[in-house]
């Protein structure tokens, strides 16, 4: 009797959990290492900067004595690795230095500017997800026929257009000519400062304090840049969805589902798409992260007071603390989001790697 029963499942649930934990630990280690690399690069950039950090503090009329004192204070006489450790220590304490331009701590500036970027990137990513994914699936299912061609052309054009130029043209058409939406900035000037910033995300703040006029105005300002940024997200997500989906549809298990007598829509959404979704998590994470930084150009075109514009302006004013601080924060967000999506991917995919 015992003869015919097959083997056991090779991994019990306990073991599976354990290896899942190990792989999560791996993600954290790699996050830490990546972050150290990130800071090392910004540190090097900061050191290579043509500007003299001491002069930036004391001004060029200071005496040699004062200069030397600050030089020692900054630890510039110490070996490079000590300086780096000091730099790390400051970072961990949240000390990104003071901005020359605003005369405020860089961290405070960033906290003020960041919500605007977050708002823009979030709306754009949502657009990419809710429009891009169905488009990609549609294209894959009708591979080689007209829905596929249309989706392909849209995503290729969306992928190829210079975003800052697209923004300018959109402003010309929809704001200047048609007047459908509000122009650059986050709000019209006369609404400025009415709503107390709670979350920093204007629409939320406005809605919370019941200022619906402001809510509408904010929305009207947001639509255009979010659409422009969203086009890029949509193009990328649709394209990846299409290729993942094509890949899955050619798998053997799809044939199995059809052999079972399953209706085609269930084969597509119930079987193929489930596998695609697992892969898409990483792609969506990547899109979101890259929109946080890709908004530099969009923010410039739309005078959107976000972190991208902050970094650009600081760059032109030789405000290096602000540039490096902004880079670190955006980089950390980029790394953090990618790590989160990686974690999520590992939790969702039953096939734990290795």
């Amino acid at each position: 009797m015992a003869s015919t029963a097959g083997g056991q499942p090779t991994a019990g649930t306990g073991l599976a959990l354990q290896s899942k934990l190990t792989s999560i630990l791996g993600v954290f280690t790699s996050l830490l290492l990546t972050f150290i690399g990130l800071t090392a690069i910004t540190f090097v950039i900061g050191r290579m900067m043509p500007a003299d950090p001491v002069l930036a503090i004391v001004g060029d009329r200071a005496s040699q004595e004062v200069y030397d004192q600050v030089y020692l204070q900054l630890g510039l006489d110490k070996p490079v690795y000590i300086q780096y450790l000091r730099y790390l220590e400051q970072l961990v304490e949240g000390d990104l230095g003071t901005s020359i331009m605003t005369a405020q701590p860089v961290l405070d500036d960033i906290i003020r500017f960041f919500p605007a970027t977050l708002e823009l990137a979030t709306v754009a990513t949502l657009l990419g997800i809710f429009v891009g994914i169905p488009m990609g699936v549609l294209a894959a299912v009708h591979q080689g026929r007209w829905p596929d061609h249309i989706v392909r052309v849209i995503s290729l054009v969306g992928y190829s257009a210079p975003i800052f130029w697209l923004g300018m043209v959109a402003l010309l058409v929809f704001y200047a000519n048609l007047g459908w939406v509000a122009g650059p900035g986050r709000l019209d000037v006369f609404y400025d400062g009415i709503v107390e910033p709670a979350t920093g995300i204007l629409m939320v703040d406005a809605a919370m304090s019941g200022e619906w006029d402001i809510f509408h105005n904010a929305l009207s300002h947001l639509v255009l840049p979010a659409m422009i940024l969203g086009t890029f997200a949509l193009a990328y997500i649709a394209r990846m969805t299409r290729s993942f989906m094509l890949d899955q549809l050619s798998q053997e298990y799809i044939l199995t589902a059809r052999v079972k007598g399953m209706p085609e829509y269930k084969v597509i959404w119930g079987h193929a798409f489930r596998n695609v979704l697992v892969q898409l998590i990483t792609i969506i994470g990547l899109t979101y992260a890259s929109l946080l930084e890709g908004s530099v150009l969009t923010e410039t075109v739309f005078s959107w007071p976000g972190i991208g514009q902050y970094i650009t302006n600081s760059l032109f004013n030789n405000d290096m603390n602000a540039v490096l601080g902004g880079t670190i924060v955006v980089g950390a967000c980029f790394v953090g989001i990618n790590m989160l999506s990686d974690l999520l991917y590992r939790l969702v995919d039953p096939r734990i790697r290795k």
């Binding site: 950039i45 290579m48 290729l156 130029w165 050619s250 760059l315 290096m320 955006v330 980089g331």
Partner: protein, 302 residues
């Protein structure tokens, strides 16, 4: 007619009789495949057009695109100035044509820097495995994790503004995906039996990497490179737009948009034309890359 027939016959002969013929046949059959793909062909035509225009710039244009003609400022498109003139009276058509050289220059320079580095790091990491792989890939991940445009901006801040520094900054942020791709290919290749067979023959590691692993990475690297060229062009244009790339009066398309920005409402052609140029060229690379992927991908092929 007959020479064409014999050439075709030679290229399609059932039994090749020399190494040269076998190679040419491979390329030719690939070309036949490629030709059937309309997307790739459109892309190829755009890119060929770009190259031809850039090569023939002195003969196509009437000016060097730099000389001022203040009497003819901001003239709309006409038979004399096909794309109109800019705020300093320069012919936009001529500037676009000269700008194509800059675009090609950027793309070529970045590719020359990026591909060898990516291939070397990727194949070595994937093939050797172990701690070599761990170290190299960690390094790659750090660069991959870096926000591309912002790192490029920060680097330009250090190195100073200008085209060459922009290229260097872009290259520094572009090589990592190539290392990733090459590694992924090398990983799948390294345990295949033909690599074991090569080891069995006593072929050195360098020989295996150069003659066995690298050629197989080339198709995916080529596809990625073509697709990335669009990204490179857009990043370079973005840097130019921000004033961090090529400096005026260089006719770089991104910088042209940036300078023409204030004339958008009344003289739309000044910033719009260079934008279209960027769009077309980057679309060309994307189409070509997409088509190449279709050709190289065994699944969509036979």
């Amino acid at each position: 007619m007959t020479t064409e027939a014999t050439l075709r016959g030679w290229l399609l002969a059932e039994i090749p009789t020399s190494k040269l013929q076998a190679r040419c046949q491979r390329v030719f059959i690939g070309w036949l495949d490629f030709k059937r793909n309309p997307i790739a062909m459109i892309g190829l035509l755009i890119i060929l057009g770009l190259v031809v225009v850039a090569a023939l710039a002195p003969w196509i244009t009437t000016s060097n695109g730099l000389e001022l003609d203040l009497a003819n400022r901001l003239k709309p498109p006409s038979s004399q100035h096909w794309f109109g003139t800019d705020e300093l009276g320069r012919d936009i058509f001529d500037r676009i044509i000269w700008g194509s050289r800059i675009t090609l220059y950027i793309v070529a320079l970045v590719s020359i820097i990026v591909v060898p580095i990516g291939l070397l790091i990727g194949t070595v990491a994937g093939y050797m495995g172990g701690w070599v792989d761990t170290v190299l890939m960690r390094l790659t991940d750090i660069f991959l994790a870096f926000p591309r445009l912002i790192l490029a901006m920060a680097l330009v801040a250090v190195l100073g503004r200008g085209l060459e520094n922009a290229v260097l900054a872009i290259a520094l942020t572009t090589w990592s995906p190539f290392a990733r791709i090459a590694r992924a290919e090398a990983l799948t290749i390294r345990n295949s039996e033909f690599i074991l067979a090569a080891q069995m023959q006593g072929i050195s590691t360098v020989g295996i990497l150069a003659r066995h692993v690298t050629p197989l990475c080339m198709s995916s690297v080529t596809v990625r490179l073509t697709l990335d060229m669009a990204g490179i062009i857009l990043t370079a244009a973005g840097l130019g737009f921000l004033g961090l790339g090529a400096q005026p009066p260089t006719p770089e398309w991104g910088a042209m948009i940036s300078l023409g920005r204030q004339y958008l409402i009344d003289q739309w052609w000044v910033p719009t034309i260079p934008g279209i140029a960027i769009l077309v060229v980057s679309l060309g690379f994307n189409l070509l890359g997409d088509g190449l992927r279709d050709v190289f991908d065994p699944k969509s092929g036979n």
